[in-house]
């Protein structure tokens, strides 16, 4: 690194720190403790250096631990903890919808062999397209940070799966390298998950603030009770179905006003 001026070195270090810090804050806002989020970030960083080859699959296929296994594992864990079938369906539906939208926008609309950077409507880079779509879809379907994370990470993975089918169909050469999550901590899978959470949070919070908080009339009594009471998570009572709300990050003031955000 000695060839870089100080400015560039500081830029690289600060960018990485801010990115990881943001990632930690984002993960922290799901059902993870501060320390849990740190452990996940550490696993992503360390796992970035580990590529597991999958020789039994066609092409030169490999999967990266930090860029794919850890975030996807976390998404599956969150799904498992989701509890109700409805939450499951919302998160998985969000993932499928994200994948379809991203595939249609990124691969079918924005294509063309003499159009740079591939596509007439490529006004947004692919690395931002995934979290944007994931965040919006998840907000519309589930109004949930976790659903946003799941939709974005599994969505990117699904796009990789679509792409795999495309390669098989096109008879791509065997040396075609498919490195799922190959960019590790900087892979689109991780980026998409983190920015989708932040987006869902920002959009969700802003909209609900603008709307003056959740409606109280006509809501079930238990929900209203939960909204008003700053009761924190108790093991076994974190069901998503009835109240369906992650209270982990909600303080007293917010609890009264937030409602649907998770």
């Amino acid at each position: 690194m000695e060839r870089f001026p100080v400015g560039i070195i500081i830029l690289i270090i600060v960018s990485i720190l801010i990115y990881l810090g943001l990632a930690q804050r984002a993960l922290d806002r799901m059902r993870l403790s501060d320390r849990g989020a740190l452990v996940v970030i550490a696993a992503i960083i360390l796992g970035s250096f580990i590529n597991i080859p999958l020789p039994f699959l066609p092409f030169t296929t490999s999967v990266n631990v930090g860029g794919a296994l850890v975030p996807v594992g976390l998404a599956v864990y969150l799904l498992k903890r989701a509890g109700t079938a409805r939450e499951w369906a919302r998160a998985l539906g969000g993932a499928v919808l994200t994948a379809v939208v991203v595939y249609v926008v990124g691969s079918l609309i924005n294509t063309g062999t003499t159009i740079e950077p591939a596509g007439r409507y490529a006004f947004i880079d692919a690395i931002y397209l995934y979290p944007l779509v994931g965040g919006i879809v998840a907000y519309l379907i589930g109004r949930s940070r976790r659903a946003a994370f799941i939709a974005a990470t599994l969505g990117v993975l699904l796009v990789d799966v679509f792409h795999y089918f495309w390669l098989l169909n096109q008879g791509a050469p065997q040396n075609y390298a498919v490195a799922v999550g190959g960019a590790g901590a900087f892979d689109t899978i991780v980026l998409a998950g983190i920015f989708a959470i932040l987006l869902a949070e920002l959009v969700g919070e802003s909209l609900e603030r603008l709307a003056g908080g959740p409606r109280a009339e006509g809501r079930p009594l238990e929900l209203l009770k939960a909204l008003k009471k700053p009761e924190l998570n108790r093991p076994g009572e974190q069901g998503e179905g009835s109240t369906g709300r992650d209270r982990n990050n909600v303080d007293e003031k917010k609890a009264g006003e937030l409602g649907e955000q998770e």
Binding site: R3, P117, K253, K254
Partner: protein, 429 residues
């Protein structure tokens, strides 16, 4: 609250829509040649035979007097910028269809400073010095690996093995021939779509593990007129280049600084071999490194050889730019002048990028805090609490735990709840 049956209906309806969409997408994905438009014959290049793919369609950027400034096979947007090889900055103001009108903003002081600096360097620094000093390597890859040159390859696109590889190889050979260490990743990222950048991101990160001094993504443009890029430089027919910097990269100023230096250094060695720098929407994986650059080597109607010669000329400027200007030069050469803007400006790009990133983080963080606090009082309360958060990540928990331990009740759910609540107050948002 919507009734349970209505919810169920809505759920099944949504599920059905998703299933249909997923099925349709898979069908399209599996459809032969779906993502890959079959390459048209050269005669068809200017025809808009397929509106979806807009073969031969391109944007023309004109100045306020209607003079053509640039042509490029990409959609341009208001706010995009063009830096000509003379250092003139134009900002696009209006876009109507394929015609964009740009306003002259002024001369770029840094490009002008670099021009003066590099003009005084009569002897280019050899690449061998780079290798001898062990000052890292260089990395080259292609995001659109099908890109080809019609006169040489017969097609504009050859899936998985386009003619662009030979152009990349010309760059690599030039560097290797001078003793530099080059990591050339030939991983294909087909099809030619926008998602190719997420696939090539993986290749780029892999290349970064070799700690290169700079990383280049080599492309070609798609404007139909080969004469737009064609030129005779130093007695050779070459296709000139365009450097592209993505403005959706938070550290864009640093990459822009590198692009400025590359353009002026290369143009100083080989008369304006770089036509221009275009700053457009996109990231192009340039966020990964301040010295990441996208090069467009000619267009698909140039010959591959023209493009290869053009990029080889550009490559010769690399060692000069990559911090070797301070290295001892040949005895006959004049003493290396102090970099006028270079010394300062080389630092200015990254610092500016740093300022942007920090500024956006702080303003974004405050805005988010304001939104999530709901009220000005809450905002102030949380803001003042932020300082203690930094110092008390573990602190308050420990203190409170001590209090409850004194009371002999560490498993009291109420006590734990208070602990959590206190911690939430201090560490959230």
């Amino acid at each position: 609250m919507v009734s349970r049956s209505r919810l169920r209906n809505r759920f099944w309806f949504l599920g059905g829509v998703l299933a249909v969409l997923a099925g349709a997408a898979l069908l399209i994905a599996l459809w032969p040649y779906s993502g890959q438009q079959p390459a048209p014959a050269a005669a068809e290049l200017s025809e808009n035979s397929s509106p979806d793919h807009l073969v031969g369609s391109f944007s023309t950027i004109v100045d306020e007097q209607g003079e053509v400034l640039s042509m490029m096979a990409r959609t341009v947007f208001a706010g995009d910028e063009l830096y000509t090889c003379e250092g003139r900055i134009y900002r696009i103001e209006n876009v109507e269809g394929d015609r964009a009108e740009a306003k002259f903003v002024g001369m770029d002081p840094q490009i002008v400073a670099y021009q003066e600096f590099y003009a005084e360097q009569s002897v280019p620094v050899s690449t061998a010095e780079l290798a001898q000093q062990g000052k890292g390597s260089l990395a080259v890859y292609h995001t659109h690996t099908d890109e080809s040159y019609v006169p040489s390859d017969g097609k504009e696109s050859i899936p998985f093995k386009g003619g662009i590889y030979q152009v990349g190889k010309a760059m690599v050979d030039k560097l290797k021939g001078k003793g530099a260490q080059v990591h050339y990743d030939e991983t294909p990222h087909d099809p030619h779509d926008n998602n190719a950048y997420t696939r090539s991101r993986r290749t780029a990160v892999n290349l970064l593990k070799n700690k290169p001094a700079a990383i280049f993504d080599v492309h070609r443009d798609g404007v139909p007129d080969p004469n737009y890029y064609r030129a005779t430089i130093d007695g050779q027919n070459v296709a000139r280049l365009r450097l592209v910097v993505g403005r959706e990269n938070p550290g864009m100023s640093a990459n822009m600084d590198f692009a400025r230096r590359m353009m002026t250094a290369a143009n100083n060695l080989h008369g304006n071999v770089v036509k221009e720098i275009f700053v457009g929407k996109g990231d192009y994986n340039q966020d990964l490194m301040p010295t990441a650059l996208l090069i467009e080597a000619g267009t698909h109607t140039n010959t591959k050889e023209e493009a290869a010669r053009g990029i080889a000329m550009f490559t010769e400027a690399l060692p000069t730019v990559l911090g070797l200007s301070a290295a001892p030069v040949a005895p006959a050469a004049p003493a290396t002048p102090e970099e006028p803007g270079a010394g300062r400006a080389a630092g200015r790009g990254p610092w500016k990028a740093l300022g942007w990133i920090l500024g956006v983080t702080i303003i974004g963080g405050l805005a988010f805090l304001l939104v999530s606090s709901g009220s000005w009082e809450n905002f102030k309360r949380r803001l003042t609490g932020f300082g203690s958060e930094l110092t008390s990540f573990m602190g308050p928990g420990k203190i409170l735990r001590k209090v409850f331990r004194k009371q002999g009740d560490t498993n009291n759910p109420e006590a734990n709840a208070i602990l959590r609540e206190e911690k939430d107050d201090l560490t959230k948002d």
